[in-house]
Symmetry: D4
């Protein structure tokens, strides 16, 4: 079985690439999905494809709805949803995705620095793991998917 993992949230660092590289190195049977992470494309897709809007609200609205075709579909198909909160910006879409995934019963892994712990306590409370780094997420995936935990299962094949 190939596991499907959706990587939601922060788009300004290469945490997705790190997780994907780590999973590949670990030989995991896993397929990753994500929102479109090109910031400008994501902002402008509505008007670029379906016509300009003089009002910024509708400019944003048309784009956000097209993005939702992708994000809601991929979250709905995911076995696990990882949501990373970065150090800057409001990131309300990340928290929205976490709530959306939680209501669908998807196992949630939340990633953030300690400084955000208090502000994210309701989000963390819905998660099955709270991690700080891409490495930790890779190790969780390795354990969950392959049953491998360094120092424990090394001599015994996980399932």
């Amino acid at each position: 079985m190939t596991w499907t993992v959706y990587l939601s949230g922060e788009i300004h660092t290469d945490w997705r690439e790190q997780i994907e590289a780590g999973a590949k190195a670990a030989g995991l049977e896993v397929s990753f999905s994500a929102p479109v992470t090109h910031h400008e494309a994501s902002d402008d897709v509505g008007v670029a494809l379906l016509g300009k809007e003089p009002d910024k609200f509708w400019h944003d609205h048309k784009g956000a709805q097209i993005n939702a075709i992708r994000t809601r579909t991929l979250i709905g198909k995911a076995d696990i949803v990882v949501v990373r909160f970065g150090e800057k910006y409001k990131q309300w879409n990340a928290a929205f995705d976490a709530g959306y995934a939680a209501a669908l019963g998807k196992p949630l892994i939340i990633m953030h620095q300690d400084e955000h712990a208090h502000a994210l306590k309701e989000v963390d409370a819905a998660a099955l793991a709270v991690a700080r780094t891409p490495e930790e997420v890779v190790l969780i995936l390795q354990y969950v998917i392959d049953g491998t935990l360094a120092g424990y299962t090394d001599k015994e094949a996980g399932r």
Copy 2:
């Protein structure tokens, strides 16, 4: 992942072929489905297969129910539902499909000309995109599936 897209509605122009050709040209991993688009077959299938009906109502009913085996199954399996309203006819089955897909939580793309915008406002209000042409639908699919938006993501691979 292969996306599944159901193409509902108007059956007198080649819009489905245009979308399929465009998706193929764009190299999208997508599989299309649709109702039987042969008008007379769709009308007569009930009596052709299960026996003549003197009453036109039951003639239609037997056919419409057999068509429903196909259409409800394929809508249920679709990741995205596109519904096109043409320029003529009542097209209540198109609006029915849109409502059916909406209640199942399927992302909806509605296609129609501007002149129908007011009459379709409740249908459009349930959609995540309202397009005018097959080209626009192809571009939406390309963005949603591949993350590609001309002028933005060209130099950066979508996911």
Copy 3:
């Protein structure tokens, strides 16, 4: 038990009032719900409450979405959904509601004149009754709710 019946569709004749009066005369334990049937209010509610839109599309969109808060909630709570198609207009919202209710598994009663039978065959095929008049709908409700059928159950209390 009080049954809840949603009356969708055509808003230019008094068919809702006829059904409600008939149900009351028959002493049925039934509660009716419906969309806002004031045409102009329904068209303008978005901009009247949330600010003008120069573009007619968004004018319609804002109103249609507010109407959807009401209609989707009430259809979701209905035990039975009646959808009437009148003699004029596109009435795509009526067909949309029928599809929406069908996908939710709601028992559907469709009302229309014979002339629309062919165009409505897919909608009718999803219905459990196709009626022509408000009187017929009242009699169906009386049978379904009280088990009463004139000439049959008169001397025997329905359940």
Copy 4:
């Protein structure tokens, strides 16, 4: 029918009281619910009831989970979910609630000032109405519940 409306989000102004007072003045059949809005109680409930935690993360976690008993239950029972984003703080729990409600198919009304429109575009894209003030929310509820729109339905009883 009594409508149930959950009021999520910002807890430092009296917007909930304003909406409740407005709804009462309008004579709406509506029942409101909300999270516990006492900030300190909400933060400390876990340790206050189930024992101190030296680690702030678990202090928060125990409280957030008890709050979730209340919030997820009440969102699940709501007909409409209103989420207000205030001017300060991260408010990730508000966005989480919006996503949670969206995935449950609840009609969403989002309240915020214009300055947050861009950051909230994904949240707004899932809403059926985006309002700025408690007054607007009351008017929306009045229209949705009673069918009343000032200047339109005054002489005609809503349903």
Copy 5:
């Protein structure tokens, strides 16, 4: 809490009345529902209300669909479904109701004589109780609803 119990199946003996009388005598908080049990009304309702059909198949079809408005709605609202198989006739509608209720996850009580046990083994296998008499069903309801079991809980109030 009032429990709702749907009584499906055989309509030629007074077993429903016996169960209802027994439940009343036991003071149970229970509300019963059932199909229309007037055989001829149930057969003819379609044509009586919506117009004659020369073809017996459609005569039956129209009636059966109207009956389905009642039966599917009431099964859907029931907490418990009791299905009685009598000594005569095919009673396929009873077995259909049992399957329908089973797929909805409704607790099933099946009533029949020993002679039918083998033919009903798949139906019984989906049930939580297989009874022979109305008295047994009343005692089951008394235990399930009030926690009362003669000789055991007499001196101890059930919950």
Copy 6:
């Protein structure tokens, strides 16, 4: 896409083989499933595998429950459920399967001879097609899956 069709009901004639052969001859992308059709195996499986039961009721029960592991799983996975009623026996399990599939929203095709039409009217009323012969079922599948209807679509590829 490969369609999955579950063939429920009568086990004493070769109707399943006829449908499978017809589908193969027509080149349909379809996969068939069915209950275990060996009558004695199906009756005795419980005691054969899990130990003898002196009481015939439990003998039957243990077997019927093991059969249910297969039948409920396969019905749950089917795109279309075909239920055939033969000329003999009670066949309550066939009607049970029809009800079970109906509640899951599976498109139903019912097969029976005209003489059973009245007794099966509630079952037929839940179906999207009522056929008499395996040939008819094959033609329905051919139309539904391939869009092919002899005399209509011959020159035009179905979708």
Copy 7:
């Protein structure tokens, strides 16, 4: 709104009565439900009502299935499920109920002494609160239902 709380698990102490008394004293709008807590009645109900079984396995089976009519229905209707693990016995039914409730998405409160914490870690991991005493459960309910937390909200009405 009246909250419904199901009290599952250990039946040899008066913890249910303590919670009910505490909730009453606190004036909470709450309705409690529970399994039949009379041990012998619960064991024997199957054979007492539906006939003796020489084999103890079927004796137990008939009783356990009748109990399931009550327990699954009441868990399904509960807003909150409390499961108490006592100091003795296997109590597999308590853990079963916890898993059943968890899969239905019910908020879980688990009660047990510290000595069982390790053995119950998977059950606790699915809970939103882990308590030791009936008093703690009452305080949680008071907070969740009324928003009251001693020392915090005393001067401020909860919602």
Copy 8:
């Protein structure tokens, strides 16, 4: 079709390997899944990956939640869930899994020795088969998947 079978419960004997070997020998199209069965890894995974916890409760909690990512996902994907209760320990997680699977409607096979029959009666009552040995489970799978029952279907291919 490949069937998916989740093997829950006891982790100290090689029953899983026996079932897998038996299924392989029988040539069944089946894929097995299971929790991580390395006891220490399963206990410590939380702190090993996400940081030490001085409090044993949180040590356990972090691990149990990561295990839940795996177990809930795999149970959710399983066609059949087998739960084995061994001779020692509390095994509440096994009973929890059984309840969890039951509420999801998964066909359950429970394995245990006779001595546990009474204590497991509620769990057994939710099962479609109660087996004692891995051999019995293999034979059940062989029958369910291939329709093969020794002595009955040997000369006749199952489906």
